[in-house]
């Protein structure tokens, strides 16, 4: 029984991570073809973080917020690829009607609250969501992803202080992918153990290998359970890595080939697949089948985006005020 549950869970995690990977690869291709413009921050390499964390949530009552590297997080929250790809294309059928683009995916009904383009600006928003959740006594919590670059913003420090003095149900997750744009986090952090930043506000703080989706799932499930019973905020650093540049315009020359290879050896999808093969949960043929299914979903999303209409000129003036 335990084995069947594990297998089902791991297949779900694998499928979701693969979906993000293939979506991002397609986005990169379409960016190259100029179907997509502007900033485009890919999540490749970091899939285990969003997928592992969101697997442990109850999205009927919990909420997720993230920064501008939001494609993977949106998919992990259950958003469909068609409206996401259409948003990258700037089409009317996009999740934000073509007005947000890559950095501003939103799905209010699925409790995915963005998609925020200003480093650290959504950190207080998550605390506000936590305040509303507590006010309504709905028993949920807010989960806020941000990068190692955001941890030095004032918004992080102001908000963690308030989250603790009011004991708001918010889990703050620093996805430390080692680079704030092109700057190694160690060059700009007086303290490189980010757990200390959470702990300095009296918030229970954890750290985990963000490349290992099962470890992410395990530690997050424990934290969320504790948050629900004790009504406290928490902090989690997930050590992860992005394979691509900061955005599509960044060739990432600031890091070595050796470093990239080192992290590619720990690829979250490769690692999970190897572990599943070892446990007999999956074989090569089954993996290929899952990959083909996922690629089909992504191909369909491209077709949907291609075929969707441009926004009408009049929509320029819509959605400004409620």
């Amino acid at each position: 029984m335990q084995d069947t549950e594990n297998k089902t869970l791991q297949i779900r995690l694998l499928k979701r991570m693969l979906l993000i990977r293939r979506f991002e690869e397609a986005a990169a291709r379409m960016y190259g073809l100029r179907k997509i413009g502007g900033f485009c921050h890919l999540y490749i390499g970091q899939e285990a973080a969003a997928v592992g964390v969101i697997e442990t949530l109850d999205m009927k009552k919990d909420y997720v917020l993230t920064a501008y590297r939001d494609h993977g997080t949106a998919i992990a929250c259950g958003m469909e690829c068609g409206p996401l790809m259409a948003e990258l294309y700037g089409k009317e059928s996009g999740c934000s009607r073509g007005k947000g683009g890559s950095m501003h995916f939103f799905d209010r009904k699925r409790h995915f609250f963005g998609g925020n383009g200003i480093v650290g600006a959504h950190i207080p928003l998550a605390a506000g969501v936590g305040m509303a959740v507590r006010h309504r006594k709905s028993g949920g919590c807010a989960v806020c992803f941000f990068g190692d670059g955001a941890i030095h913003q004032g918004s992080f420090h102001e908000t963690l202080n308030m989250a603790k003095i009011w004991n708001l149900p918010v889990l703050y997750i620093c996805e430390n992918n080692r680079y704030g744009m092109g700057t190694d986090y160690r060059r700009v952090s007086s303290v490189t153990d980010f757990k200390a930043a959470g702990a300095s506000y009296g918030i229970e703080s954890f750290s985990a290998n963000g490349m290992d989706v099962l470890e992410v799932c395990g530690i997050t499930a424990g934290i969320i359970k504790k948050m629900r019973s004790e009504n406290t905020p928490a902090f989690l650093e997930l050590k992860t890595y992005r394979y691509k540049g900061h955005s599509m315009s960044d060739p990432a020359r600031y890091r070595s080939r050796e470093e990239l290879d080192h992290f590619r050896d720990q690829d979250p999808i490769v690692m999970l697949r190897a572990s599943m093969e070892k446990d007999g949960y999956i074989n090569e043929e089954q993996f290929k089948k899952i990959d083909a299914e996922v690629k089909k979903v992504v191909d369909d999303s491209l077709a949907f985006a291609e075929e969707s209409a441009q926004p009408s000129p009049g929509s320029l003036y819509e959605d400004i005020l409620a």
């Binding site: 998609g115 950190i123 207080p124 998550a126 605390a127 969501v129 006010h135």
Partner: protein
């Protein structure tokens, strides 16, 4: 009608809306135990408790963002800034989150939050604590902006602001909190986009808002002694503007003086002057005048700080410059 102070009128508005809707909360520095830096929130903690009347640390960016996030998730927060001078710490949250959330999500979110506190010059406070910052907030689409000039307007407008589903910037004035005026006993709301003609006249239209409304009325009284009858329009709602009331008046008087405490460059005053010149061009008998804050930081010295601001005397002078009698 009861005669109450401006601060009491604001307090009644917040109290009535909190009573009416359990999702209305208020947060800011000193709003709860201290009863408000300017005593607007006096007694609310006792009545509604610390879950709805929330003292914050001195973290404007943080608590402003928390108010916005709470609004995105369905509450109706009133965020009190101790003064608008400190709101600059939170400007990113207002501009990039409150004002943009609806647009960049394709209309999915509404953000029913009110940001309020004293704006504009006070006395003896020098450059950092005595600024009129309405131009910054009126500049940004996605925000609504209100600035009342009387206790009655303050109450009806703040109630409207709290019930509105958009982010509202609500400008009060430190020097107006003690101002007394009649306030109706029955509930009333003053909508967005409705200017109020505070005095009727035929010779010149003086357009202003907030604290300078009183200066404009004093100026009109003075001008009347010499047979010049000024019409005084109190804009009340700065975004959206009640353009029709402005144009109707200027087309009647054919002369216009705009008064704004802010600096002249890219201000509400300069924008109103542009609109009038553009729409009422054929009706104008004289160039439009702008009486505004001098283009300098506010000095501490009292004589100098008064010289830096609009006054009834400056308005009289501006009117006399364009009205021959």
């Amino acid at each position: 009608m009861a005669v109450i102070t401006f601060r009491e009128a604001l307090r009644q508005a917040i109290d009535e809306e909190m009573e009416r809707d359990g999702d209305v909360i208020i947060l800011g520095e000193e709003v709860a135990q201290y009863n408000g830096a300017y005593k607007v929130t006096q007694g609310l903690l006792e009545k509604y408790g610390e879950k709805r009347v929330i003292d914050t640390p001195i973290s404007e960016e943080g608590f402003t963002g928390i108010g916005i996030g709470a609004a995105m998730a369905g509450l109706r927060p009133v965020v009190e800034w101790m003064t608008f001078n400190f709101s600059l710490q939170a400007l990113d949250q207002v501009y990039n989150n409150a004002a943009k959330m609806r647009y960049m999500s394709g209309g999915q979110f509404s953000v029913p939050v009110v940001f309020r506190g004293p704006n504009g010059p006070a006395e003896f406070l020098a450059a950092q604590h005595s600024q009129a910052l309405q131009s910054i907030y009126c500049h940004c689409p996605g925000l609504l902006v209100m600035a009342p000039s009387t206790p009655a307007d303050a109450k009806g407008m703040l109630k409207t602001a709290i019930r509105n589903n958009n982010p509202v910037v609500f400008l009060e004035s430190e020097l107006m909190y003690g101002l007394r005026g009649e306030v109706p006993e029955k509930e009333y709301l003053i909508p967005f986009g409705s200017a109020d003609i505070k005095r009727y006249g035929t010779d010149v239209t003086i357009i202003t808002f907030s604290k300078p409304v009183k200066m404009a009325l004093d100026a009109a009284t003075e001008l009347s002694k010499n047979g010049i009858e000024a019409e005084v329009i109190d804009l009340r709602s700065l975004r959206p503007l009640d353009e029709q009331t402005i144009y109707n008046s200027v087309k009647k008087t054919n002369r216009c003086v705009v008064v704004d405490e802010a600096w002249p460059y890219a201000s509400v005053g300069s924008h109103v002057a542009f609109l009038v010149s553009s729409i009422c061009f054929d009706y104008m008998d004289a160039p439009i005048q702008l009486v505004c804050g001098e283009d300098v930081p506010m000095p501490y010295n009292h004589e100098l700080e008064l010289a830096a601001q609009p006054s009834a005397a400056k308005i009289v002078e501006a009117v006399r410059g364009i009205v021959s009698n």
